[in-house]
């Protein structure tokens, strides 16, 4: 089971190809406001995250996730619960 730091690092790696504005990403970076992603970019990024971590991030969960840190927290929970 990967620890939080590993999950964060992998998330940053997957995020980079979509970081068209070259924003300096931290845990506080917000997907909509800071990265200015539209809904299609979000869907593509989420699909890649889901495949990498072998999880499902439902649209209901996505609505609660605003920042990179919150996404990492969600991934920690999702990969944890799978054991």
């Amino acid at each position: 089971m990967p620890d939080r730091q590993q999950i964060y690092a992998k998330t940053l790696g997957l995020l980079e190809p979509f970081n068209k504005k070259g924003v300096a990403v931290t845990e506080a970076t917000r997907f909509a406001q800071d990265l200015e992603w539209d809904s299609l970019t979000v869907l593509d990024f989420v699909a890649n995250i889901e495949d990498e971590f072998d999880v499902i991030i439902t649209m209901n969960m996505q609505a609660e996730i605003e920042t990179v840190g919150q996404l990492v927290d969600a991934l920690v929970r999702l990969t944890d619960s799978r054991g």
Partner: protein, 400 residues
Amino acid sequence: MADLLTKFDPLIEQREALLETGLTDPFNLVMEKVESPTVAICNGKRTILLGTYNYMGMTFDPDVVAAGKQALDDFGSGTTGSRVLNGTYAGHKAVEQALKDFYAMDHAMVFSTGYQANLGIISTIAGKEDYIILDIDSHASIYDGCALGNAQIVPFRHNDVEALDKRLKRLPPEAGKLVVLEGVYSMLGDVAPLKEMVAVSKAAGAMVLVDEAHSMGFIGDHGRGVCEAQGVIEDVDFIIGTFSKSVGTVGGFCVSNHPKFEILRLVCRPYVFTASLPPSVVATAATSIRKLMDSADKRAHLWENSKRLHAGLRQLGFKLGTDEPQSAIIAVLMPDLETGAAMWEALLHEGLYVNLARPPATPAGMTLLRCSLCALHSEDQVGEILGMFAAAGRATNCIS
């Protein structure tokens, strides 16, 4: 006071900027007269209709019109009531029987619009603990059905069987699952690989709902849609459809063989809490559906029209949404909204109406000129249409 409409300012500005250039508003066209399923008078000019979804051209069918007039005389102008109270007339039962016969299915439930059929069925059958797995490019009514209910929503990449399969396998095996697909996707006119998608859905223990709004009457040997054409109609749990396209009136429906289907009439809020369709509408729908059962010649002619328009537009140098014609929708890709709006207006001046489609309704931020063919477009009209595209395309520098 905080003005709640401030949030629409960016859209207001975009519209104003577009209209300031002197363009006709593409979302404000008025048809002053409608002469037939393929011709109307717009701004005083005879205009060929190529963006109406009137696939089978039933809107002026003499039998259909006569049935509507008779129902107006016999049953009045409206029901003023819900289907479950005073709003079920003989005509509503008759149109449901026509649907059962058309699809060879046990149950049919008619809604006041196709939008409400998706809204009602999807929000009602998938509960809080259940999952809805849907194609990213699903129609707004499917997304709104998800939003009205409280199921867990899982989207997958458009028409990607592997993406669907992977997500189904990641979900808890015991959880309730509804896979929502469309036969024909209305923006690009592409067809779903239903055979493979239904197979992986069934293997994962999911129920399957297919929206066949854009294929009814036209695709499949009996016009039952893409499910029929790909041989999986028996494995599909629910088919959603509409009367506002091939049937040529307004209304929506769900057909199913599920033994407990009838209970949905009591628990489906968009069915219960609205007035039923007027008697004239259900009478025209029932007559039209029965005529569509026996329309193989019209289906063949519509395919011919679709193939000819697709090949002709390609030859002129337009980029199209699909490599091959897959349905009666042909989407012409525009480089941006400004060019799309200019081309739309140039076509209107030529005497041709198509749909201008733009984000967020379109996938991947595309601007499209969406053409939907009719079985009653004559060979001459298709030729005329191609001539108009050539002239308008050159005038706006879309083609050389």
